[in-house]
Amino acid sequence: MKYSSALIFFLAGFLLQSTLVLNFSIAGITPNFLLCFTILFSFLYKGYQGAVYGVIFGLLQDIAFSVLIGPSAILYLLIALLMAEIRHYLYRDSILNMLFTSSLGTMLYYIGLWLILMIFKGNYSFMYMLKKVPILLALHFAIAVIFYLTVGKRSIRHPQDRYYKGRKLYVD
């Protein structure tokens, strides 16, 4: 995946996450598109798109919505690195592995965020966070599957494949 194509996904995710998607919240919770794309781009594609845009858009997210600037960027970076490592051990063409990676990434992000907020502010309940996680896990898995079936699944085609149609967007 090219950096420019990944940028479009991250930019759209950032804008939708803070505006349109708020109308479709479940119990006041909406999916974190930036986290989903960080996980997906790091797991499905070679390169540093997930890490680079994770840090940039994580910083933007922190600047726009958080009192502390940096926690999301740090966590996106660490999760992107972990997913890049996991891709060497897990088969990418599997929905079960999408479930595993999206769940692991989501859990790590929210536990990490809770830890950082506890260190700096000490005002967030762990149980309150845990109650939100199941809905987030379901939403993030749904996004991962949709992305995998529509865009990600084509990423494993090799450019030299005789059936490859030359869609540059999906070049691995």
Binding site: Q17, I69, I74, L77
Partner: protein, 283 residues
């Protein structure tokens, strides 16, 4: 250098992590202040978010109008009736011209300063909000150009929302009262002599305690701001949902259901007090 060449990726990663950690610590120390770069990024972000939010509002109101036509008509009828009743009530409640003139003369004679004269207000739209459910911090489309200052109080028709955390030329970042770790003093609306202190409980609600341990309060009591610090007096905060006795602290603690639905805030009013600047400098 040799070590760096051999571990180039690890070094770059370490430096980035260190920079991000320093940024986090710096933002914690200087809460609510933004660097030039941060201001520009926020400005670009607000510039992009506003048309998206406007488009979304247009679509949702159009769809709502089509599918809920009957409901809107019924609402309209009810509002017209309520308007008529309120007009009649207004006529009954209005002071006569003579009474008003007398009161004004008295006000001048006593050199009375009306607290409401110290406040000005700006109405703004929410252009972006974090939907993760963690923060209730959001961006509005009014900034220093419109007279918004840091620490100005933000309310809507339901009650207290929070205060301005950071402000740019055309945008401002609002921190909600449920995210706030600072204390807010309150009064019980039923008996204004009953005072207490509250703050966010980290679970999306508010909790606090009564200054008088024997205060006679009940579940459902409405709480309003006391006007002792940042927030002007009389803004609804919420209702008491639970009262408990803390044996260790010997205090009557309360859990409060906020009056504002923080999941759905469309428009807000920013109240500016004459003292906002001073408070900004103090903090």
């Amino acid at each position: 250098m040799k070590w760096y060449r051999e571990h180039r990726r690890a070094t770059i990663l370490g430096v980035i992590l260190l920079l991000l950690l320093s940024l986090t610590v710096a933002s914690y120390v200087n809460q609510g202040t933004n660097s030039w770069l941060g201001m520009q990024l926020e400005r670009i972000s607000a510039f992009l978010q506003e048309p998206v939010r406007d488009g979304e509002n247009l679509i949702s109101t159009t769809v709502k109008a089509i599918f809920q036509f009957k409901k809107v008509l019924a609402e309209n009828e009810a509002l017209l009736q309520e308007n008529e009743e309120l007009r009649q009530e207004l006529v009954r409640q209005s002071l006569s011209r003579t009474d008003l003139a007398e009161l004004r003369n008295l006000e001048e004679a006593l050199n009375y300063i009306n607290p409401a004269d110290n406040y000005s207000h700006v109405t703004a739209k929410v252009i972006a909000m974090d939907g993760s459910g963690w923060y209730r911090t959001f961006t509005i489309n009014a900034g220093s150009k419109h007279g918004v200052k840091r620490n100005a109080v933000v309310i809507n028709r339901d009650g207290l929302i929070g205060r301005i955390l950071d402000v740019g030329p055309e945008w401002a970042k609002v921190i909600s009262v449920i995210d706030e770790s600072n204390n807010v003093s309150f009064q019980v609306f039923r008996d204004l002599n009953l005072l207490g202190i509250l703050s966010g409980d980290g679970k999306g609600k508010l909790s606090g305690y009564m200054l008088d341990a024997d205060a006679s309060i009940t579940e459902g009591d409405v709480l309003v701001t006391s006007g002792m610090e940042l927030y002007p007096q009389g803004i609804p905060i919420g209702k008491i949902s639970k009262i408990t006795w803390d044996n260790d602290a010997l205090l009557r603690t309360v859990e409060i259901e906020p009056a504002v639905n923080f999941n759905n805030i469309q428009k807000v009013t920013v109240i500016m007090t004459g003292s906002s600047d001073t408070e900004q400098e103090e903090q």
